[in-house]
Symmetry: D2
Subunit: 369 residues, 4 copies
Amino acid sequence: MFGSTYGNLFRITTWGESHGKGVGVVVDGCPAGLPLWEEDIQKFLDRRKPGQSQYATPRKEEDTVEILSGIFEGQTTGTPISMMVHNKDQHSKDYSEIASVFRPGHADFTYDQKYGFRDYRGGGRASGRETIGRVAAGAVAVKILEQLHVSIRTYTLSIGPVKCKKEAFDFSNIHKNPLYMPDMKAAELAGQYLSDCMKQKNSSGGIIECVVHNMPANAGDPSFEKLNANLGKAVLSIGAVKGFELGDGFRVGEATGLSNNDPYRYDENGKLIKVSNHSGGILGGISDGSDIILRAAVKPTPSIGASQQTVNKKGENVTINIKGRHDPVIVPRAVVVVESMVALTLVDMLMGSMTSRMDKLIQFFKTDK
Amino acid sequence: MFGSTYGNLFRITTWGESHGKGVGVVVDGCPAGLPLWEEDIQKFLDRRKPGQSQYATPRKEEDTVEILSGIFEGQTTGTPISMMVHNKDQHSKDYSEIASVFRPGHADFTYDQKYGFRDYRGGGRASGRETIGRVAAGAVAVKILEQLHVSIRTYTLSIGPVKCKKEAFDFSNIHKNPLYMPDMKAAELAGQYLSDCMKQKNSSGGIIECVVHNMPANAGDPSFEKLNANLGKAVLSIGAVKGFELGDGFRVGEATGLSNNDPYRYDENGKLIKVSNHSGGILGGISDGSDIILRAAVKPTPSIGASQQTVNKKGENVTINIKGRHDPVIVPRAVVVVESMVALTLVDMLMGSMTSRMDKLIQFFKTDK
Amino acid sequence: MFGSTYGNLFRITTWGESHGKGVGVVVDGCPAGLPLWEEDIQKFLDRRKPGQSQYATPRKEEDTVEILSGIFEGQTTGTPISMMVHNKDQHSKDYSEIASVFRPGHADFTYDQKYGFRDYRGGGRASGRETIGRVAAGAVAVKILEQLHVSIRTYTLSIGPVKCKKEAFDFSNIHKNPLYMPDMKAAELAGQYLSDCMKQKNSSGGIIECVVHNMPANAGDPSFEKLNANLGKAVLSIGAVKGFELGDGFRVGEATGLSNNDPYRYDENGKLIKVSNHSGGILGGISDGSDIILRAAVKPTPSIGASQQTVNKKGENVTINIKGRHDPVIVPRAVVVVESMVALTLVDMLMGSMTSRMDKLIQFFKTDK
Amino acid sequence: MFGSTYGNLFRITTWGESHGKGVGVVVDGCPAGLPLWEEDIQKFLDRRKPGQSQYATPRKEEDTVEILSGIFEGQTTGTPISMMVHNKDQHSKDYSEIASVFRPGHADFTYDQKYGFRDYRGGGRASGRETIGRVAAGAVAVKILEQLHVSIRTYTLSIGPVKCKKEAFDFSNIHKNPLYMPDMKAAELAGQYLSDCMKQKNSSGGIIECVVHNMPANAGDPSFEKLNANLGKAVLSIGAVKGFELGDGFRVGEATGLSNNDPYRYDENGKLIKVSNHSGGILGGISDGSDIILRAAVKPTPSIGASQQTVNKKGENVTINIKGRHDPVIVPRAVVVVESMVALTLVDMLMGSMTSRMDKLIQFFKTDK
């Protein structure tokens, strides 16, 4: 239900499956007057493009975006922005095996249960290509945030057992290695680990971290629409994400009030600061102006070449070796997807925060006339 | 925005703050013909009642629910069910300190930023009493799930460093100890740990686990409205929850495809089973019929008696020792809140799953005439 | 579905039926800092009170409102405002006849079809008391609009064959006659007509008109969320309303482009004006700054004492004479309900109009820091 | 806000403007297993095609639909159905006049107020081409309704002063005349009237009527989500519609309870019938199983060749004669748009009616396993 639409005031609707004519997104509620070109979108799509490194599938997917509506003379008009990427790689393959078995770790079984049958070609709607619409829309959201001076940095924190070390973080590294890690040494080790995975026809999971800088201190709502709850939903709606945490996250389970509470101080300039940021930038569901820090746990690519036990629809137990080449890890390509979902959520909730005070409402409509 | 309403087809709206006249909830979209009495609700509210053990605040809160509408002759009528709990403990206290300082770990600062001022008495809307409406509504949701043979079990998995051991799990223990732990030995150790915390005027975090049994295999939607995404939002909307995970959760970061994929088999009776359940009962965002397993990380109670650094509104750095007695741990009282949010989400998404197939739609409306 | 909640950013949820413990409403999304007292609400409720004239039922309903949450020191806090009116008139009557027959023009039959049974006492949820929550919330919306200098005037345009004459309009008359007509002569004639209706145990329909003054010229959205579409839904959701029109309304069917288009002119002060207002203040779904003019057609009270043919649940054709005294006309008491639904819609859509331009967004968040 | 998405469980999102690359719609929530081909959609689009008669603009618009996603082997898969029509008629015209003046009766002024500027080419998003997405989606909705044996008939009731006579209604006539009138004599007279309008470079309004047959008796909700309220919003969201009525509509203003109430009877076969249908098939907001009857008032085409007074952006009062050939009446092309909006609403609300009874819910999920 309501499945393919996300957001309230800034709202996107995605469509398309792996082997249809294309995939796309409609962005509704984008303010008029935002400069926007296809290059702005393409830059984001290129970050999730396959075939960019030895650790990603060598499939050729151009994924060239076309803007179909909502722009006039280089600016958004306030009407829906429709964007589309044509599917190129649709040549007929033999999907007979996938059609009749349920691949472990995939949505084959649940789709059949829910819909009675499925478009099994390339995973259909459950394909990673579903994220193209999210990223295209995310590019628009990030442009809006830039104009409000809010910035987002997203990167790979760990792949399998290899973790980036906080003390080795250098954010200029993120785009210098194909795994989007801020620690070059970790990137090298993770690369070796992935090579091993590939030799064993196996795959690896990992963790993505995202930091939002300069967020105004009033987005989010005290009850069900907490900013963290919406960020959690946004990130958990990405296929393969199995966990979400804010600030210290699961470590709070072992923390104490004294170790976990963030003290306030006025600094030498009289500016209010938080001495620490265990809370991850949100208190009571509302952004507090400090960095928002969140993490997503991403499961290993379910499509692997190694032998797996499963069943077919004829009622037989069978063994499957999934053919074709697949990414040995989802994480690097998912980095921009996490960033996009975070950006979409922030824009929507910033917009939603504009009506919380009567004095600001009066001011807005006074200026308005 | 949209802050106090949750759900689409089964929808609740909560209201009330700590020191107003009461707290309550309106449940809309409950099917007609469900037997419902105040006792059904009270049973759930009693599970979150304070003053039940040495590890909880000794405040006397009766929290007696009153059903104001939506019931006729012991059954729901299909119209909104309004429920209310009167606030008893409203005698005037001295809130001058809380009014002028920002308590660390609380929403004082963010409320002031968002709204310009706040009802500081007892935490206002940010009080734990906000969850009373969630739990009252959750009791209704659980009754609906019972009629569909879906059951939920929720318990404390860990408090501070003390973790329940899987091999020592005995679910009959859950209601035999005030910490709602399924492992009695762990409960004893956790109790000692909490006593130490209290002596130090400190508090502890912990982790809650929830297992849903017998969920039909078609709830949830492939894209933004994945069942796990909605469960995540539901649980993360509870104050103090800082992390959410499904199935193996954050452990997938170190897993491989081979270790994480759940093989399918037909058992001796020809029934399709999953050999393992790393996925936690959801694949592609849709329930797969196996147990749904999720966990929530709960931060330590921010209100502690120990000295903390903070600021006041006059621009001064100050030290605060929060007075009054507060729970040294939120976890046990939050167990029923997690269960309620899960139940509300399941009912809503089961309802939303009814329209996924044309054949079922035709069947439904054929029977209907 | 979604039945008892209205609005997106400014959102109300109503509950209660005729013979339950009370009726009420939760207002969510009200900006913080609005001065609000129970008197503000009571004033509106009193306008729909029965027993005020010879043309209304002499039932004694005090309908005293109680604010249960969301106010602190005389101002809204930004959290949900819960309001309740206790039902007084609940003494046991003999409802056996209503329980077993379907009253013509009432919702008895459709409720039974939809829910399987119904709370037949006093009409249950289908009672006119359902509007109390709308009016209490409408009073809040009107207060917000006042602060934005938007005003609404609502009155009875006709009752049965008696129509107010435009040339005799004097708005100071509206509250000088029990029928809320701006034309005193018409009010007198309508009174005589209603007396005749009552003698014949019959009832009358009528038409309500509403004019909104000083609406900013940007509320509403070009496609499905046109301001007129939302006003239409709001007004048509009031029981007994069977038609809605904007500006010239149904008369446009016979109009020509030349007679219906409103020319623009700059007046002597260089201010842009519309020479006429056939469009009723909305063009392309967006308010144009001129008066918004709308009308609602209200059907005659279905409860009448005269003999009517109907059926009972035993499968018999029967004749019913509805006992008790009922208003011979719904219109005067519905005037404030129409005004309330209009106000709720205007506030919601004004809030929704704040994000249409990037320059205003930048300005808002610049000021915000 | 929320502007281009309509519906809750069956939800459409439209996009596109007159002179962009195309217009389209994404249909989300369509049940899996509905046979659907491009021909099903094209048939509907052809009903709104211009250039079909002497009373419509001779512009050549092929409006050929392409389905981009959501179909597999001739059936819907349950995932979003994306449909697009490429804009053909984009050759550069001189829009300098339209760009600088506000055309009376158009949205030029309000768009500029709301968005700061507008895509003035061919009316942009405010063009009649915005309805293409509605009609393409409406075709899907009508196919679903057919499978549930619900049928809709929509036709022109009047054009200018020429009204179809009830006694002359022959529904087989509707598609035999270019004005979609069920009364051939009226069609002829209306044609003459339109010829006169065209000679005077003027245009005409009219009224559309729509009748829904065999609707199940439980769709709609008692309070804000009344079926009539949603139908009203749906129809009023069509550009040019200025009024909406159900059943007797505005005539109820002069009716009495005795004349307006519909008596119930059991017929000779023991079937419950309504003797009359003044209510138009809906009581208490819920469909009662009898025909749903509604009407929409459509204003005259605002684009006319005759001289009109208006202003330009330079602050001057000017006279405008709109060039190009425009339909002298919107009504005939709007017939299928009204039908589409009604169908979309009915499917959405039928889906929403499935959860009203606990016994049906239990039955549904029992069958489901």
